[in-house]
Amino acid sequence: MITTKGLTKVYRTRDREVTALDGVDLHVREGEVHGVVGQSGAGKSTLIRAVNLLEVPTSGTVTVDGTDLTALAGNGKRAGAELRKARARIGMVFQHFNLLSARTVQDNVELPLEILGHSGAERSRKALELLDLVGLADKAKAYPAQLSGGQKQRVGIARALAGDPKVLLSDEATSALDPETTRSILQLLRDLNRDLGLTVLLITHEMDVVKAVCDSASLMKNGKITESGALSDLLATPGSEIAAELFPLTGDPLGAPDRTVVDITFLGENTGQPVISHLARTYNIDVSILGAAMDTVGGKQVGRMRIELPGPYEENVVPIGFLREQGLQIEIVGAADAVKDTQLVAGVAQ
C-alpha cells in the first residue's frame, strides 16, 4: 500500500548539510498497522511527511496505493493539483491535533470536504457521520478549546477520515495524551483499521504504542531503517532491537564464567507449555529464572524469559538443543557478548 524506495532527504543550510533520510526502503502492506519507532532526531517525522510529500524528498520514490506521488510533485514547494488530489486520499493526524480553533468541531471535520468541493448539505451529513464514528456526535457545535486532548484527537481522526482515505498517517498521535487516553485513541485506530480496512502508518517513540496496535514495525536510526518486519517475525529474530525494546528483560546478563545465560521467547501456543519444568526434569539441572514477562503483542500472546544454566555453554549444548526442539526462540546472551568482544579486538587490531 505504501512503498518508498531509496528515499533520501538532505536539508541544506548555509554552512552544512543534514541528512534526515538516508535511502529509506519502507513497505507497508494493505490493511496493516505499521509502526516506525526510533528516538527523536532519527528521521521518523521527515519520513511520514515524505509519504504525502509535505516534505519533498531529495531523491527516491514514494508510491501510495499504486500512485507514484514523487512523479506528481513538481520541483517547487508548491503542490500541483494532481498531488493535492492524491493527498486528499491520505488522512493524517498530528501530535498536537492541528485543529482550527476558530472553527467548530463540525466545521473542522468539514474542511477537507470543502477542499474537495462537496456541497454544504453533503459536508454536514458526512461530518456528523464521522463524528458519530469517533464518538463525538454531541460535540459538533463545540469549539476545539472546549474539548479535552483525547476528544481533540478524535476530531483530528474524524477530519482525517473525511476524504475516505485508504491510508492514515499518524504523526505521534498519542504522544501528547495521558496513558488512559492514549489507550482509547489506539483502540479507535485499531477499530478503524479493522472496520474500514484502513492501512495505518504511525510513527512513535513509545514502544507501548507498537505493542498495542501494530502488526509490523520498523526501527529508524540516523535516517536509516535498521530492521523491519511483522512483530511476530521480529520477536523470533535473534538480536532484534525492536524485540528487546518490546520485551526488556531484567537480570544481569553477565553471569559468572561457569554459567550460561539464555533468553527464551515463547510465541503463540508455546506460551501454554510448561517448558522450563520439563527441561529441569529431563536433564536434572537447576534452572534459575533471572527475569520474565508475558504480554500481548499485535493481538498475540508472547512471553520472554531469561534463565541461567549451571556450567559453561559447552556443557549446556544438549539442553539448549532441547529448547530449540520445542519451537522456542533461543538466544545465548553470554555467547553473543563473547562474539562481540572478539570483533572489537579484531577492529582495534586493524
Binding site: 491520505i90 492541528n98 482550527l100 480553533s101 476558530a102 474542511l111 477542499i115 478549546a145 472546549q146
Partner: protein, 506 residues
C-alpha cells in the same frame, strides 16, 4: 468664540477626521492584508518561498514606515494629484494617510499571520489544500483576532496622523485644534477638540477590543461570549456593526460634500487662518454676494502648500504671503505666480517681558526669532536696523544666521514663528509676527519695544494668482472687495496690529 461658533467647526472637524481615517483604514486593509500575507508566504520555508520578492516587499514596507508622515504627505503631492485629480482637501489627505497606513498595517498583518501555528498550515496541505486554501481557510481566520487588534492600532495611529492633514487643507479635528486652538489662541476650541479626540480614540479602542474579545473567546476554554444567550450576541453584534457602518457612511458623506465645493463660479482662496483666512471670510460672507461673487476659503496651516495648490489649479487664488516670499517660491519651484493687489502689512516687532526699551538689550541676552526663511531674514534686518547686530554687507531679504557679521554678544534662538510669543517667558526678548502677537494677547502698537515701519515695507501681504488669471474679472472684483473701505474697517477693528496697505502691486 462662543459655543455656537465653535460647534459647526467641531462637527465639520469630526466629520472630516472620520472620513479621512475611515477611508484610509479601508484602503489600508485592502492593501496591507495582501502585503502582510505575502511577506509571510515568501519567507524561508513557506509555501511561496522567494527571497527576492520577500526582500523587495520588506524594503518597500520599511521605506513607507520610516518616512515621517508630514514629509510623506508633502512628497506625495504629484502622486495624489495623478490619482485623484487634486492634492488638497479631504481627498488630498486620504491618499497619503492610506499610503502611510498600508505598510504600518502590513507589518501588523505579517506578525499576526506569522503567529498562526505552522501545524495548521501543514494540516491543510495534508488534506489537499492549495496555498490559497491555506491563506483563506487557515491563516486569515486563525489570525483574525490579532488582525482586528492590529487594525484598531492602525486606526488610532491614523487619527494621530490625520491631525497633520491641515497642511494640505484636509481639515479634521487636529486641524481645528491647530487653526483655532493654537494659531488663534482659542483655548476653548483646543480643549473641545482634545476631548473629542480622546473620546474618539477611546471609542475606536473599545470597539476594537470588543471584537478581539469576541473573536478570541472561541479559542479559549472560557468562551464566555459563546455562553451568552444568542439574542444578546445578536444585539451586541448589530449595535457594533451599525456603529461601524454609520461611521463609514459619515465619512462617505464628508467626501461627497467635499466634491460639491468646487463649482465653476466659485473663487477658492487658499489662506492661512489669521488674519488672512478671517479677512477672506469677512469678504465672502459680507461683500461677495452683492458683487455677484462666490468666495470659498480653504485654510492651510502650511506655507508651501497654498502656493503649490495655486500653481496646480486646486485653488484660484491665495492670500497668506508677502512679495519676497512669493518671489522666493517662484524662483525655487519655477512657478509663475503673480501678486495682484496688496492688502496689509503686519509689522513684525520686538517684544519683551523683562526690559522696557530696546537699548536695555545687549551682550549676554537671548532673543527668540522666527525660523522660516523670510521671517528670519525679516527679524535679522529689524535687529540690524536697531543696531543690535550687524549683517554682512549686501545681505538680502533672505538673511540667515550665517549672514551675521557681528552678533553683539546676543544669543539668537530661531523658533517656529507661532512659538515666539510663547517663548517670552524664557528669553529676554522675542521677535514676533503681528498676527501671532495679537493671538497671544499682545497689542503691537502698545506692547512692542519696536515695530517695523509700514512705509516702504517690502512685506506687504498680497492676493496672488496664476499669471494667466491676473486679468480675470472675478479676480479683479475680489481684489477690489479686499481693498474696500468695509474690509479696512473690519481689519482695523479685528486686527489692530495690521496696517492696511491697499493698491495694486508693481
Amino acid at each position: 468664540m462662543n459655543w455656537s461658533e465653535i460647534r459647526p467647526e467641531l462637527l465639520t472637524g469630526l466629520y472630516e477626521t472620520v472620513a479621512m481615517v475611515g477611508w484610509a483604514s479601508l484602503i489600508a486593509v485592502i492593501g496591507g492584508v495582501p502585503l502582510g500575507v505575502l511577506l509571510v508566504l515568501t519567507d524561508r520555508g513557506r509555501p511561496l518561498q522567494n527571497a527576492l520578492i520577500n526582500k523587495v516587499i520588506g524594503f518597500v514596507v520599511n521605506v513607507g514606515r520610516s518616512l515621517p508622515f508630514i514629509i510623506l504627505m508633502l512628497a506625495l503631492t504629484a502622486f495624489t494629484r495623478a490619482l485623484t485629480g487634486t492634492s488638497i482637501g479631504l481627498t488630498g489627505a486620504i491618499v497619503p494617510l492610506a499610503i502611510s497606513a498600508i505598510p504600518f498595517f502590513a507589518r501588523l498583518v505579517e506578525t499576526a499571520v506569522r503567529e498562526v501555528d505552522g501545524g495548521l498550515v501543514e494540516a491543510v496541505q495534508a488534506m489537499g489544500g492549495s496555498t490559497r486554501t491555506v491563506v483563506f481557510k487557515a491563516l486569515l481566520p486563525q489570525a483574525l483576532p490579532s488582525l482586528v487588534a492590529g487594525l484598531t492600532t492602525t486606526v488610532v495611529a491614523l487619527i494621530g496622523y490625520s491631525a497633520m492633514a491641515g497642511a494640505v487643507g484636509g481639515g479634521g479635528l487636529g486641524d481645528v485644534a491647530i487653526r483655532y486652538g493654537y494659531q488663534r489662541y482659542e483655548g476653548g476650541v483646543m480643549l473641545a477638540t482634545v476631548v473629542l479626540l480622546v473620546v474618539l480614540v477611546n471609542v475606536v479602542q473599545l470597539i476594537g477590543d470588543f471584537f478581539v474579545r469576541t473573536l478570541s473567546d472561541r479559542t479559549t476554554r472560557s468562551a464566555a461570549w459563546l455562553r451568552a444567550p444568542r439574542r444578546t450576541r445578536t444585539t451586541v453584534t448589530a449595535v457594533a456593526s451599525v456603529g461601524l457602518v454609520g461611521a463609514l457612511t459619515a465619512g462617505t458623506l464628508g467626501l461627497t460634500s467635499e466634491g460639491d465645493a468646487g463649482s465653476d463660479e466659485t473663487i477658492t482662496v487658499a489662506a492661512t487662518p489669521t488674519p488672512h483666512g478671517d479677512i477672506v471670510k469677512f469678504v465672502a460672507d459680507n461683500l461677495a454676494k452683492d458683487a455677484g461673487l462666490k468666495v470659498e476659503v480653504k485654510e492651510f496651516t502650511d506655507y508651501v502648500k497654498p502656493n503649490e495648490a495655486l500653481a496646480n489649479g486646486d485653488v484660484d487664488a491665495n492670500f497668506f504671503q508677502h512679495v519676497p516670499f512669493l518671489d522666493d517660491f517662484n524662483k525655487k519651484k519655477h512657478t509663475d505666480l503673480v501678486p495682484t493687489v496688496g492688502i496689509l502689512v503686519e509689522p513684525i516687532g520686538i517684544y519683551s517681558k523683562s526690559v522696557d526699551d530696546v537699548s536695555a538689550l545687549g551682550s549676554g541676552d537671548t532673543i527668540a526669532l522666527p525660523n522660516d526663511t523670510t521671517n528670519e531674514g525679516r527679524a535679522l534686518h529689524l535687529l540690524d536696523d536697531q543696531g543690535l547686530i550687524k549683517l554682512k554687507k549686501g545681505t538680502g531679504l533672505d538673511a540667515s544666521l550665517n549672514d551675521i557679521a557681528d552678533d553683539g554678544g546676543l544669543t539668537l534662538k530661531p523658533l517656529e514663528a507661532a512659538q515666539t510669543p510663547r517663548a517670552l517667558e524664557d528669553v529676554d526678548a522675542a521677535i514676533v509676527n503681528g498676527n501671532y502677537a495679537i493671538g497671544a494677547g499682545l497689542t503691537p502698537k502698545k506692547d512692542a519695544l519696536v515695530l517695523e515701519k509700514a512705509k516702504g515695507n517690502p512685506y506687504i501681504n498680497i492676493l496672488a494668482v496664476k499669471k494667466e488669471d491676473r486679468d480675470d474679472p472675478a479676480i479683479k472684483k475680489l481684489g477690489q472687495l479686499l481693498n474696500s473701505d468695509a474690509t479696512k474697517k473690519f481689519m482695523e477693528k479685528k486686527f489692530p496690529s495690521s496696517i492696511p496697505v491697499f493698491g495694486p502691486v508693481k
